[in-house]
Each structure stands twice: as structure tokens, then as C-alpha cells.
Symmetry: C2
Subunit: 474 residues, 2 copies
């Protein structure tokens, strides 16, 4: 039995302004309008044939992830989740995933660990590699997936292959090297003996737990403590913050793979990319005759080899520029030389230092019940478009410093204002005075769209008193 374990944690700040902490990289649309999350799930199901998928993520991303998974129509899949209260790097996450799979499916179960935000172009080649890895894992090895390097990348770790493993296309792992400097990376590339560490792993549950107990007992023991504090009856397991905070924050590479003797490697060319920069995203688009790649509305004059992404209908015009990445979003524009696109992290750092909203949030904010887009955020009012998914209901709530005017523009709303309950159809409106209990619900089969005009003197998200909330936020 091989079960995919999808790890979805990082914020992907190198893809700002599209990827932000509140809606990070795994959820952004790529060239084909699919998300990495969606693709990772499809790949996980296809290469393992499993009817169970275990996802390790955070409470913040749970609803977003679930919505992505809903796009997959494969019947009879059980989606299991481990929700972390905060990030602790990959070793504790893998330890807890292993403990959970051990309890549910037994220690002989194999797990395929896959980050949610990688792209694999050649799924057939990857499936072959997984098949090889599975055979090797059956002999008690911890299998890594190496990628044939195409250049002296300093942003990845490297795997040095050892002797070939009999009756397989795999190798013993001779060394596990952290991100090198350029000189070392060039040496690795020249030698032909090194592979990029893709960050994917395949091993038996018992084997990784044994390796953790041997090489990282602090991780192992703290994970055991976390596990003993929960009762995993549900498909959704929320890790207790206090116990989880005692897990050391350490990667599985550093905790286990660099130490253990029983490591192996399967390598291949399966079109792997960690989509770690806008330059990598650019490669996913077809270029025109001048090398420009455009998503959205772009007008290019005497410009070449540029990538334009404009997702909100705004026009991007470029004149006399070359090899630029121009990313337009509702509240921020990025203009970067493609060769410098890794430095986007510095922009996000500066925005974080300034506590600027755009470091974390978009103008469109996702909620368990749907999403809202801020159309206007001024001193005298805030205007939003709210979209409520079928069957969803917002919390019963009230505000101390703002009134709200709702106008339905599509669908039908079920509304409670004070003690009254009524329906609002398109082109009908209502008013929620300050300090009045209210609730919005979409009991129909189609999305409900409404325009909310808030008036008052403060419009922050913290002026929401929640009384009943089906998503556990009250």
C-alpha cells in the first residue's frame, strides 16, 4: 500500500505579488489555469493508485486546499488532513504523517512525500521512478528522488549517487549535500555524479520512524507526544499548539537523510521544477515571435523576451524593454529583470517590515464560505463584492463601528437582520445598522454575489464579533 502525503506549508514569497501568505503559490493559477495543488493531487492519485491522500497543511490553507481537491472528480477518495498550528519544517510534519499512517494502516504502509508546490511535466516518467522507488523501499531503504541537473543551481540541495542497487534502476545514496556555492555547484555539475534533491521521498512508515528515532530522537519523541495528545478519530486532525511547539523546527534532510545509512536514490528526467521564480513561471507560457509571453492584456512595442501576467483586466503596455517580468495584480505591480526575479523576496521583506497588507493579503480574500474582493477602501467607506458558495453561511455576527448596505446582484440571499429573517433576490437590498446581529446565507445551488457598502469610521476585519460559526471561528 502506497499513500501519497502532500506537504503544503510555505508561502512562496518569490512569486509575490501573486503568491502571498494568505493565498500562496500552491493556489495560484498557472498557464493552463490549473493550480499546483490541483495538479499535485491529480499526480498523487495517478502515480500511486491510492484511494487515500494525506495532506499536511495549516488551518489557514485547509479550506483553500479542500476547494482545490473538490475539482478532482475521481470517485471514492478519502482525504485525510493533519493541520499544523504553525510551521515546524518537514521533519516533524513527516514524523506525524508517519505516526498517523502507522496507526491507521500499519507500519508496512509506504508513503510518497510530495511538496504541493512542485511541477512535474512528464508524469509517465515520474510514475516509472515511483515504481522503482517502491521496489527499493520494500528492502528497507529511504528513497530520495534525484533530478538530472541542467545547470549549476545554487538554490537546491544535491544528491551524490553511490553504487547501483541490484535488480533496480536506483542507487545507494553516497552523500546528501546542502545548497552549494556557485563554485561547488559547477563542480557537481561537471562530475556528472550529482542530482538535484527534488524534496520528494518514498519510504515505509516503520523505516522512517525508525530512522527518526535513531538520528533525530528529539523530533521523534516530541512527535510521539503530540500524537498521544490527540484522538485521531476524524479525517481532520488538528495538532495541539502547545505540544507541537515543543517539536524542533528541522528539515527531514538535515534530521535524517544526511545521517542515515539506508538511503537510496532514484533519478530521472521527469520535467521537475519547483517553480521557484517568475522566470520559471515564464517558461510555462508559449512565446510569440519576439519571445514575449503574455497572460492577460499586454501591448508590446519594441520589446522582447518579456513575461506579462495581468489577471484583473488591466492593460500592461511595455516599450523598448527586454527580458522583463511584469506582474500586475489589484494592488501591486512587479517589474523585474528576469535574471533578478529571485530578489522578489527582498520586496516582501520590505513590505513585511513596513507591515504593509500587500505582503500577506490580496484584494481578494478567501474564506471558508467563498471570498470577497475589496473594491474601495477609503476613510468614509469600504466597498466589497462578496461571493458566497452554494450551501454556505457566514457567521452570525455584529459590528461596533460600521453599518452595512447589501445589494444582491446575482443569486438569492437568505438574510437575518436582528430578529428578522428574509430572502433577497438580485436587485434587492437591505441595511444592517451598527451593533445589529446579522447573518448571510446562500441556500441555493448557485453562487450568491452581493455588493456590500460599509459606512462608519473603521472597517478593519477585527471589528467582527462572531457568535455562531460553522467553520469554528467564533
Amino acid at each position: 500500500m502506497l499513500i501519497p502525503v502532500i506537504m503544503s506549508g510555505g508561502a512562496g514569497t518569490r512569486l509575490w505579488p501573486v503568491s502571498r501568505r494568505a493565498h500562496p503559490k500552491p493556489f495560484m493559477q498557472l498557464a493552463d489555469n490549473e493550480t499546483l495543488m490541483e495538479k499535485t493531487l491529480a499526480r498523487a492519485l495517478a502515480v500511486t493508485g491510492s484511494s487515500v491522500v494525506l495532506t499536511v497543511t495549516s488551518r489557514d490553507y485547509y479550506f483553500l486546499t479542500r476547494d482545490e481537491y473538490l475539482k478532482n472528480t475521481t470517485a471514492g477518495i478519502t482525504y485525510e488532513y493533519i493541520l499544523e498550528p504553525f510551521g515546524r519544517n518537514t521533519a516533524p510534519a513527516i514524523a506525524l504523517a508517519a505516526l498517523r499512517l502507522q496507526a491507521e494502516y500499519g507500519g508496512e504502509t509506504k508513503m510518497l512525500v510530495m511538496p504541493a508546490d512542485h511541477l512535474i511535466a512528464d508524469q509517465k516518467a515520474f510514475k516509472t521512478a515511483v515504481y522503482e522507488a517502491e521496489k527499493i523501499a520494500d528492502t528497507g531503504q529511504l528513497v530520495t528522488f534525484g533530478v538530472n541537473p541542467t545547470h549549476a543551481e545554487t538554490g537546491y540541495g544535491y544528491l551524490l549517487h553511490g553504487e547501483k542497487i541490484a535488480d533496480s534502476n536506483g542507487y545507494k545514496l553516497a552523500a546528501f549535500e546542502e545548497k552549494p556555492d556557485l563554485e561547488t555547484a559547477l563542480k557537481y555539475l561537471d562530475s556528472g555524479d550529482y542530482r538535484w534533491n527534488s524534496g520528494m521521498f518514498l519510504f515505509r512508515v516503520n523505516d522512517i520512524l525508525q530512522a527518526l528515532a535513531t538520528h533525530a530522537p528529539d523530533v521523534y519523541n516530541s512527535a510521539l507526544e503530540v500524537w498521544s495528545a490527540i484522538e485521531p478519530e476524524d479525517e481532520l486532525v488538528e495538532l495541539p499548539a502547545e505540544e507541537f511547539s515543543r517539536c524542533p523546527s528541522i528539515s527531514i534532510d538535515y534530521a535524517v537523510m544526511e545521517e542515515a545509512e539506508n538511503c537510496a536514490m532514484v533519478s530521472g528526467d521527469f520535467g521537475w521544477s519547483d517553480i521557484g521564480s517568475w522566470k520559471a513561471i515564464r517558461e510555462l507560457y508559449e512565446s510569440d515571435a519576439t519571445g514575449n509571453r503574455i497572460r492577460g492584456k499586454g501591448i508590446m512595442i519594441n520589446s522582447s523576451d518579456c513575461f506579462v501576467q495581468s489577471d484583473e483586466g488591466r492593460i500592461v503596455a511595455a516599450i523598448g524593454v527586454h527580458n522583463l517580468v511584469i506582474i500586475d495584480t489589484g494592488d501591486a505591480v512587479l517589474v523585474s529583470d528576469a535574471e533578478h526575479s529571485q530578489e522578489v523576496k527582498q520586496v516582501v521583506s520590505q513590505l513585511n517590515l513596513q507591515q504593509h497588507e500587500s505582503a500577506i493579503f490580496h484584494k481578494t480574500v478567501h474564506r471558508p464560505w467563498g471570498y470577497f474582493t475589496v473594491l474601495e477602501d477609503a476613510n468614509d467607506c469600504k466597498v466589497k463584492r462578496l461571493v458566497v458558495k452554494p450551501g454556505c453561511v457566514l457567521s452570525l455576527q455584529r459590528h461596533q463601528r460600521r453599518s452595512e448596505h447589501w445589494t444582491v446582484v446575482a443569486g438569492t440571499a437568505r438574510v437575518r437582520v436582528g430578529d428578522e429573517e428574509f430572502s433577497l433576490k438580485a436587485n434587492q437590498s437591505t441595511y444592517i445598522p451598527v451593533d445589529t446581529m446579522h447573518r448571510l446565507e446562500n441556500a441555493e445551488d448557485e453562487d450568491l454575489h452581493l455588493i456590500e457598502v460599509q459606512t462608519g469610521d473603521y472597517f478593519g476585519e477585527d471589528d467582527i464579533e462572531r457568535f455562531e460559526d460553522v467553520y469554528g471561528r467564533s
Copy 2:
């Protein structure tokens, strides 16, 4: 008597996306938050000492111009206007301005013709030049203003100076040259005998009319016909379209200045610029240590000599780029190499070909009564913020394909819906059903702000049936 004649016609497409036909260059804010229109008026009053200003513009720009002039607090100024139904270049405009001044103030009156969209940094030097020009005009000369060239510009016409005029700092004009090619421009620059043609003129009304009658009789006669068709009792003269359409479209340079013998030139260094490109706008801002100039919110990483203008609160982040102009507006972003910024015209041409709104309109649209900003323009609704100036009233109107929901967020509205009239204060709202007469008025002393949510299936500006309109639009 010297009267300034301010000519305000062109759309300034080289400064797209900020300058657009509906709100062009003279009305855009510069580094000091003043507009060129505002500056031109202040300069006109300061250098002439006149208590009359005649402006030749179009109906579309009349209210915008009046609003700019209202910012000037000089007491006792009479603002006169000639409104063209469409552009016919400068010769007919100057002819009609001269005819009007002749009728009102006599043929000995001198006129100082100033385009509305030029910048003059050294007003004192300019005042000296105007003083010199006035003396020369008193001898029957048509005086041009030459600017000492600093480079071989191919975008301007050139003036060749002849012999010095006795008792003045002016020269006879030896030749009037149209925009040269680069080779010729370099020759002009080397010779030291040429000046840039600034497009400003000073002459007596009788002299320019005489010159027009002699060298451009078709312009002169058609202007006379236009003039005889109107009764200029008002400070506001609207030219009749039929008669005006018979005026040839020709510049005063070509019609008169290249032909007449009695042309002179006063030249100087008064810091003149026609602000003909974003590169020129950039020079108006102070640079930081890396040569970057920023209006709005910019984050610059490893970038230099860039100009960023972001007027709507959006963040512009630049990485590893140099000598770029990045202009952000509500619905369009321009990224241009500074040396290519003249090519913005090509972008506007493409947008015009595609009949794209952003070639002409902004998200904020100015109206005689104030302005509105489009916050959302979707299939199911359109949302606007309307700002109505004190004492202003919108037309009595109705729509066939949309209903409107109004929520006042600041100020007080006087509203008519059907046969009812009532007031709405901040945080109050009302509903205007489809096919219902309505009117919005601000009878108070402060701006009225309201959010309008339109619902229906069509939201174009052409679904407005106007019944009574104080601005003559019904």
C-alpha cells in the same frame, strides 16, 4: 493692452496612461501637485498683468478648465472662452481669438498666444522676453519665442535668427523650419543660429489678421464667416459646427509664420519644456541617491534612474531595472525604457484601433457636476463612487436597462425618485427602479460622496435619457 490667449486642445497621448483624451495632459498633476493649466494661467496673469484671459478650448474641456482656473485667487479677472466643436489646428483658433479681441478691445490690442501644456521654469526670464516681444510687436512685427536648443531635437520646429532689431534684444526671423531629421537638427545645433520654436507668439490683433488675410485668405475668410454666425455677447462663445467645419485645419506656423516677412524672434533661456514625454516629466522630480524618482509607493531593489508614478495607492516594486519609466493607473500600467518613452503614442494608436476605453477614458471620469470613479465593472453590476460638488445637480434622467442603489457615505444628497423628493444623509440609502425619473443634487457646502450600485444587464453611459440638464446636455 496685452491679453493672454491660452490654447488648450491636444490630447497629449505621449503621456498615456495618465493623459487621455477625456482628461488630457493640461489637467494632470505634476511633481508639485499643480496642473499645467493652473500654472499656465498663473504665468499668463503674472507676465501680462492683464485682467482678461481668453481661452480657446473645446466644450469637453470647458468645465475642467474652469475648475483649474477657480484655484487661482487673483481678484477681478474676466475669463473669456471660445469653445471649438472640434479641433482645426492653431490657425483658425488664433484667427477667431483675434477677431474676438478686435471686436471687444480693438485692433491695437496685443495677444500673447500660449499653449496650455507647456512648462516655463524661469518666469522672470520669460517676463523679460515678453517685455521685449511687446516692444517689437508695437512696430508691427509678428513675434515668435525661440528657445536656445540643448540637443538636436527632431520633435520641434526651428527658428533661424536674422539681423538684430535696433533698440531691442530681438532679431528678425530669417527662416521658419519645420521638424527636421536628425542630420539637419545636428547642423542646426552646430551652427548656433537656430532656436527651438516654442509655439508661443506675441502680436497685435490687427497685424495677425492682416497676415492671415494676405497669406492664408481661406483661413481668414472662413474665420470671418464663423464669427459673423455668432453673437458674442457672452464670455463663453461656442463656435457653430457647420461654419467652423469649413475652416481649413492648418497650423499658424504653416499658414502665416513661414510666409510673412514681418516676423521677429525673441529668444532666451527661460526653462521652457513642452513636457512631451515621460522622460521630461521625470526631470521634474528629485532623484534619490540611485537616481530613482518616485511619486507614490515604490520599492526599488537593485534599480537605478527609474521614474515611478503611482497615483492610486498601488505598490510598484522594481528589481534589477534601470532607466525605466513605470506609470501605474487604475486600469493600465506603462513600463517603458526612458529613451523610448515617445513611443507611447503607438500604444494609444493600438488601443484606439481596438476601440479600447483606456485610450480615451480613465476610471475616474470628470463631469460638470463633479466626477465618478468606476469601482467595479462586471457583467452583473457596475459600482461607482460619485462625487457631487457643492451646489451642483445632475440631470433629471432615467435608464431603461438598469436599476440603481445609492448609499450616501459623506455629505447630504437631495434626491428625486419618481414624484418623490427627499434628503439622504451619510449611511442612508435609496433605490431607483428601472425606467424611473430621478435626479441627484448637492445643495450643501461640502462635497457629496455616494456609492452607486447599478444592477441590470447593460451599464453603458449611453443608457442615460436626460430630460433637464443645467449643463446643456439634455
